[in-house]
Symmetry: C2
């Protein structure tokens, strides 16, 4: 609704942009804590360390600010998710250990971090009222990430490390399992310890491999096969 004046030089643009980001961050925090209806622009401005007018100068009205926040966080979150996906153990040494480490990375950087929590919360509260707000999240986020993860699992199956019928289902179930023990603490907003993340991932991967690992040795948790 309102023109954002563009400063001509980098120096001032950086300061301008720094404020923009700081407003987005503060707004994310407040929207997340209070919900959209309960959020208050004065509080956002105070938390961002700027005046209320500056918030309006940058992002227009409240609805627009929410849009900007969602776009920003979605982008950040997707970038991190694909970065973590890039560390998937395509050529595992110790499959179990490698998958556990991968699961911990995924949880810590994408699912259980501040941005992930924020997105989940916001989608749940505002998703029904504003479906188009999260359309890009849905298309660019879970859609692509899940199928990318499924592709990685399919490759592990092809190379003989796993036995998988439906890689898409396996990917969904992998994600569900690595979150099984963390959902309650996350729901209640409790901070997650490093050891908790590790324990959850370990238990999840063990079950995942009992279901989809190669049926070579019977019950022990030895790494199965295929050195190179």
């Amino acid at each position: 609704m309102r023109e954002i004046p563009r400063p001509q030089f980098d120096q001032s643009l950086r300061s301008h942009n720094a404020k923009r980001v700081s407003i987005i961050d503060a707004a994310a925090n407040v929207f997340c804590r209070e919900g959209f209806g309960g959020a208050n622009i004065d509080l956002i401005a105070a938390e961002a360390g700027v005046s209320r007018q500056t918030v309006y100068n940058h992002h227009g009205d409240k609805e627009n600010l929410l849009s900007a926040v969602v776009s920003e966080i979605t982008e950040r979150c997707n970038a991190r998710s694909f970065a973590v996906l890039g560390t998937f153990p395509d050529h595992p040494g110790d499959l179990e250990a490698d998958l556990v480490a991968f699961a911990v990375r995924l949880n810590k950087n994408c699912l259980c971090d501040r941005d992930g929590k924020f997105l989940r919360k916001l989608i749940q509260t505002e998703g029904e009222r504003n479906p188009q707000l999260f359309a890009s999240w849905r298309n660019e986020g879970p859609g692509k990430i899940w199928s990318a993860l499924a592709a990685r699992f399919a490759r592990l199956a092809f190379s003989g490390h796993l036995e998988i019928d439906d890689p898409d289902a396996a990917a969904r179930q992998f994600l569900a399992l690595i979150n099984a023990d963390l959902q309650l603490p996350m729901l209640l907003g409790e901070p997650l310890g490093e050891d908790q993340l590790k324990a959850s991932a370990t238990s999840a991967v063990r079950t995942f491999l009992r279901a989809f690992g190669r049926r070579v040795a019977a019950s022990s948790s030895d790494a199965p096969a295929i050195p190179a």
Copy 2:
């Protein structure tokens, strides 16, 4: 804060109580849709078909109304959960089919129904600001239900139908698996079809049994063992 006068006879008590329930229901809907901050008492009164004053007469202020709603829904939800737990297949005929049916019941009546969705949403939005509000939910709900489910699985393991090391972890993972395919639609508020529930449960139980079923036959999905 305010005395609720008690009528002396059933006739009027029923009407009184009917209004009470109808207010709770409407409040649940509105709180769920708009969040606590965005909820509006006039709207709740209108949706309940009573006047605003009646809302105040019954439940005092807004905070108090939220308390009442949470208690009511928690109680309902727990009652249903334990009822469903009572249908756990302790003496399975076809283990896979029985577990699938049980998972569908659990999802349909406890996790994915209106009350379950409401509680999850509300805990996520208001849990951090009001931890004591959900204390009873936490103690009476997930705590007891999870351990009860774990006990059932332990029994199945003892009777030779499953191979489980840690029944508590298995119970948590069972719940995580049967929700794996439903989380995204639920997050977005999409209605869940009967077929969707069934497909999700089938896929989840198949994986669960690959992980924890008895290692008798190798790969097929036949029911394994122990007729009576």
